[in-house]
Structures are given as structure tokens and as C-alpha cells.
Amino acid sequence: MIIRWICEKCSKKWIYPIEKCIYCKGPITKQKGTQMKVAGITKVTIPSPTHPIIPYNILLLQDELGNRLPKKTMKDYKIGDVYTEKKSESDDAVVIIKVKYDIFEAIKDALGLLKDIKFNSEEKILIKPSVVAAAYPYQAVNVNPDMLDALIAVLFEYGIKKENVIVAEQALIGSSVVDAASKAGITEVCKKRGVTFADISKGPFEKVECDGYEFSIYKEALHRKIINVPIMKTNFQLGISGALENLTRLVDEKTQRGMYYMGLDNILPKLVKALPDVFTIADATNGMQGQGPLASGEPAFLNLILAGRNAAALDSIFCEISMIKIPSYVKAAGNGTDTKKIEVVGNEVDALKNPIKTANPEETPHSDIKVIDCKSCPACLNLMHNLTSKMIGLRGNKLYVLIGSQFDERVLEGKERIVAIGDCAIKKMEEIKIGTIAKIPENLDTVEQIVLMKKLLTTEGIPKITSVDKVKSKMTKLLSRVTR
């Protein structure tokens, strides 16, 4: 659909959204045609980094109001053909919509193309956005608040009552979701729309057993329609974090740790089965590329929204269009589904293919610190990222930080100056009787963790926290409380 913003008084028209007419200050309405025809077509035969698959066609679409829009497609058309977006037929279909300056319309388009999407005005909704750490919206660590705002507006348009909507999330273990949501602009959106923001980590949870594994699932999630709203990101540990990864924070901390310990490949398919029907509307308006999923990644400016009922299918298609390898946990959750068999509507996969920067599983924010990640849980991952990112700018010795516990001696062969971060790695190192130059447990005072990490990086030998460090740490904390 082609949208124009038109002045009700003087009929001036814009291709960009504006609030009121720049000339006569008249109110603006959206102008939308009902039918598009192909008014022109060109076949492009030269590749570029952002459009690597050739040949492709660009259609010049024109609606009955005379508004035009270019549209990339791999399919052949003729001038005069009527252009329609086909509605999905399969339950596993993935809809991909390009956002043309209007997220609200893009979400409506996405919902409109999915088979049998209906909302009952009395329905209770749980929106599960991805809000993992305190970061500004531009950093693309968390869901774009504009996306959440538009989604709530669309739900209201469908007649959903605001008292029946909650937005619920918990941050990565070790971070506060209240701080994260506030910095990410999520709290403000909830306030503006009059919906409740709930901290999942506070529970209550209900035990649900599925295929021999017991999950403690957030109770509200079991009794409401879940709208899963992940932000699509690269993830140095998992490959990507998207629709499936976002669901892992619907369980309590213990279950989360257990899922990562047992391996997401094994447990995530069971969680998906244990949850009631989940509908995903994924935020790739910015999305993240590079060393995600936290602030070391960079915005990818993808300008897309993906939607579907099958989270694994959606994640797989995201990998396809981003030209990155589909992670094993996504394959496992999707029963190894061939992406070619997934029905995709709205835009074609080949027409969207655009390589994004992938994450290197060994890199940390500090170039001298490499990570050995042995199926760590989000708590250790978060701790490791926070610590190493605070080392940026310091000159240092080469260090290996070890997180997770799924390893044996062979993983550590040839590596010196290993620092075990988190309780699982420390315990495992003790079990297999391999020495480290330091251990940083999760419950060590935060300032002391940083001091120790700095010493490890900047001094030779095996540094330790001294009593002077402890005093300094206490002083720093006190000072920060006073300034706050």
C-alpha cells in the first residue's frame, strides 16, 4: 500500500509524515489507495553490497490516486499488471514488511497479511518486548520504543482495552529491568498508553512440565495471549537473538540458568511447546549487527518488521535475509525446517538479502581479552560483558575469560592467563583441577570485580584484591550513593 500524508485543507501532499500542513497549518490525513498497478519495470543486472543477488526487478507501482512507489522483486511482471500482496496460507508463514516511515501502518500491514489473525476486544494480552539491559533506544540493545508504542496503538484500534494489556519483561540476570526499561524509553511508552509494565523476575511463576523438563513460567504468560516482540540482533554467544531467545525470559532465573546449562538446543523446543500460542511481531526497524547482543553491537538500520506464529521460522528467515548461519538452537526449535519451505509473504527473501556484520564468538569489547564461552547462562554473559566493556581503553596483557561450565581440559589447551567468571566456570575449574589466575564470582562486590579485572589486565603475575582495594570499593559505593 502506498501512503501519502495529505493536508485536508489545501491538499498538499508529502511522502514523509508531518504533523500539520507547513503552508496552511491544516490537519493531515493519510491517503491510501486500494489498488496498485505496475506502471514501470526495470531489471537490474549489477550487484551492490546491499543488493547482492542479481538480477532483480524494480517495479514502479502506481495506485488509483496517482501515487507511486518503487518495489524490488525477484518476480517478473508486465506493465499494467495489478500488484497485490498475497495473504499467507500457512500457520508457519513469516510476514516481512518494510517500514516506510510509519511503523503503525507497517504493523497493520503485517497483521493483515497473516492468516486468521483476530483480536477479541475482551482479550487479555501480554506483550513481551526484548528489554535486556540499560541502553538508549539508538543503541538497538532493546526493542525500539516507537515499535512498542505503535503496536499498542494498533491493539487499541482492534478494540483491545488498555486495562487488559500488560507489557512484561525481565532483563538479563544481574541487570534491573526497571533501569533498562526506563533508559530504553519503554516505561515512558507504557505510561503514555496507560498500560502496566510488569517485572517478570518478581513472578509469580507456575510449574509446567513438558517432555520431562520442568519450567517455572511467568503465570501471566500462561493466561494471556502472548505477543512476543523481540528485537532482531546478532549475538556473539548464540549467533542471533530474536523471537526464540526472547521467550527464554518468560521463565524464572533458575529455569533460565538450567536451560542454558542443559543447552538451548535441547530445552528451547520444550519451552516453545510448554507456552500457550505465541504470536511474534519482531522489531528489525533498527536491529543490531556486529558484536551483539549488548552495547558492543551496532545498529543495523534494517527498517523491517517480521511477524509470524512460528518463532523458529521467523528467526530462520531473519538469518536468511541477513545472510548469516542459522544457529543450531533455532534449527532445533524448528525441527530442522528447510527455510525454502517456509512461506514468506510481504517481501521476498531473495529480494531482501543483505549481509549484516556477524558477531565473533571469541571477541569481547576489549581487544586483548578473549572469551571462552562454554554454554554460559545470561548472568555470566552479562557479567563478562559488563566487566570487559569497562576495560576499554586500558593497555593490557592478553587474557582469556572463561564463562559457562560445559568444557574439559582440551578447551583450555595452549591458553594462559585464564580468568574464570561466574560461579559455574569457577566450580568446573575446581572440579577438573585446573588453575586460573583469578576467579570472579557473581556475588563479589561489583566495584571489586572491576578493580580485579583492571589489575588482571594491566599487571603481570597473579594480582589479588587487597584490603586497600576493599576500602576504596566501599568509598566508591558510598560516594555514588551520596551523589545519587
Binding site: 514501470g40 524494480i58 514502479l60
Partner: protein
Amino acid sequence: MYVKGVGMTKFGAQTDTSQKLVYEATMEALGDSNTKIDEIDAIVSSIVDSESNGERQRGFSSIISSIFKRKVPIVTCSAVCGGGGAALWTANKLDYNNILVVGVERLLTNNSAVTTNEILMAAERIYEQTEGMIFPAQNALVAQQYMLKYGATADDFALVAYKNHQNAFLNPKARFYRKEVTLKQIKKSPMVASPLRLFDCSLSVNGAAAAIITKDETDIKIMGSSLFVDRLSTFESEDMTSWQASVLAAGESYKQAGVSPNNIDVVEVHDAFTPVEIISYEDLGFCKRGEGKNLIRKGITNLNGKLPVNPSGGLKAKGHPISATGIAQIYELVKQMRREAGDRQVSNANIALAQNIGGAGSTVSVHILGKV
């Protein structure tokens, strides 16, 4: 204002830095005008700030200051492919006696896919870049609309390419100097974005061009100077086959110069793609709407025709180093009016017109020069 002197590098694949190219073009312009660098009161430059060429260099005004050791007002204006013309238009508005106008670009420096991607940044981000609307595609859709509306054919476009290649054959500073290109080669060249073939597209090259303009009377007067800016995306225009910024700029320049299209003796137009030259014939008023194709079919715009267009070889065959192009057009027209164009000299070149376009009809400058 008057043009005192001009200079330009050869347009090609040289590996010189932007600094070196600016230096070379400017030294020629200073020599041509018999001006000393310390007589320059202000400088207007144009460059696109490419990343693909490895220079990754902003703050070009200060670099120019370093090259010429001049602490005078220096402004850099960027209007993508229309930057050179925009720089000249800006300079013409300034109240200084001697102004150096210089444009430079290093575009032939990376693999073509990367360069294509860099140029794509000049297209609208949400509506065009995401849809793969590289510049040949934008212009292909315009060409197709023109063909449907006025019955022009791909053969007409080929004639434009052929004419400009014949002219460039005679221009020692052109990328295709002494390189013969046949009509058959043009028509058989690979399709880039249908209906546009490789030979319908201008050449990415490196180069710089400079002009010194002055308040003092010289042999070349700037009779008209105008610049208009329109939308970025062609699909936003009601009529994609006529570019309003071009029509407005031409009208304004004719008015300032007190001349009509009939008075123009020689023209340099912005033939970034061959159909653009034909549409420009119409937008500049050299013929009625839909009749541009007849000008090329009848040879009117050939070197020996009634209205020679792009005697330099144009962007098509001389080359198109983005921000240098608009000033290189002035170089050519000055040479023509001074009867210094050698083998490609046209007859009776007394009033000349240059049209420089940024984007697909987005920023257009039109300059009319007259021999005093």
C-alpha cells in the same frame, strides 16, 4: 561576474590523491587566468566525501587552505553530481573580486559494486535505497516512462552515446580520448538496468576541474546563473519525464541573460545517462516536449550540428567525477568560446549553456556564458 581562467585534470583512472588533483586543476586555472594564488579572495569547493575511495576525509575546505596556504573564506558545497554547478552558483553570489571554484572526486578507486553502493547513498534511503534503486535503475524507470509517453527508443539513447563518444575521441582530457566506440558496440553492450545498457551510463572516473571567476571584465561573462532544488525521488514528481528543477533553472538563467534557447550556440548537459540528455533538450527549451529524440535523430546536437551538445564527450565519454563535473562543463565551454577546443571546436560559439544535475533531477544549476 566573469570567468578569468579554467583548468582541469585529465579524467581517468589515475591514482592521485584529491589534494594532488585539486592542485593540478587549480594550477592550470591560475596559469590560464594569469592570476597569482595570493590574489584569490575566496574559494568555493565541491567534493562528496567518499568513503569507498579510502580517503575518508571531511573538512575539505581546510585541506584546500593547506594546499594553497590561503587563509580566506573557503566553503565546500555538496550537491552530489550537481556539486560543481552548485559551487559555481554559490561563488557567483559572493562579494569577492577573485574566487577560485574547484571540484574534485576520486570515484574510480574501488570495485564497482562498492562504488555503486556509495553512489546509492544519493538515493532516498527508505523508498529507494532499500528497493535497490541504484542510479541506473532510477534513470531506467524515467527512460521507460519517456519511451512510453513519447515513443523514443533504445536506438535514440544509443545515438546519444555514440555522439558523445565521437566527441570524447577528440578530447585529450576525456577518459575515452582516442578510443573508438561503434554504434554496434553500444547497442550490444550488456544491459545494466533495462532499458539502459552499459553504454547508456556515464563513466566513473577520477579528476578535478577549476575555474577562477572575477568581478573584473574578461572575455567570458557569466550572463545567467541559477540553481533550483526539487524532490530527491523521481517517483514523487507528477511527471517523471520532465525535471522541474531543470525547467526552472533554465528559465531563470535565460531571463538573467536576456536570451532565449534559440540564442544558445553550444551546450554541455548532464548526460549521466543517455535519456537524461534527451529529456534535458526539452527541459532546457531546445525543442517541444517529446521532440528531444528528433534532435538526436537529425544530428542537430552533433559536433557539426546546429546546436552542438556535449562537445567534450559529456559525462558519458569524457567521464563523470561527481563534484568536478559541473566545473569541467565550464572548462569546455570557455575553451569553445575562446576557440581553443582543438579538433572538437564548434563554430560560432558565442553564447554557451551548462546544465549540471545532482540526483535524478533533484539539484539543477544552469549557467549561461557569453563571449564578450
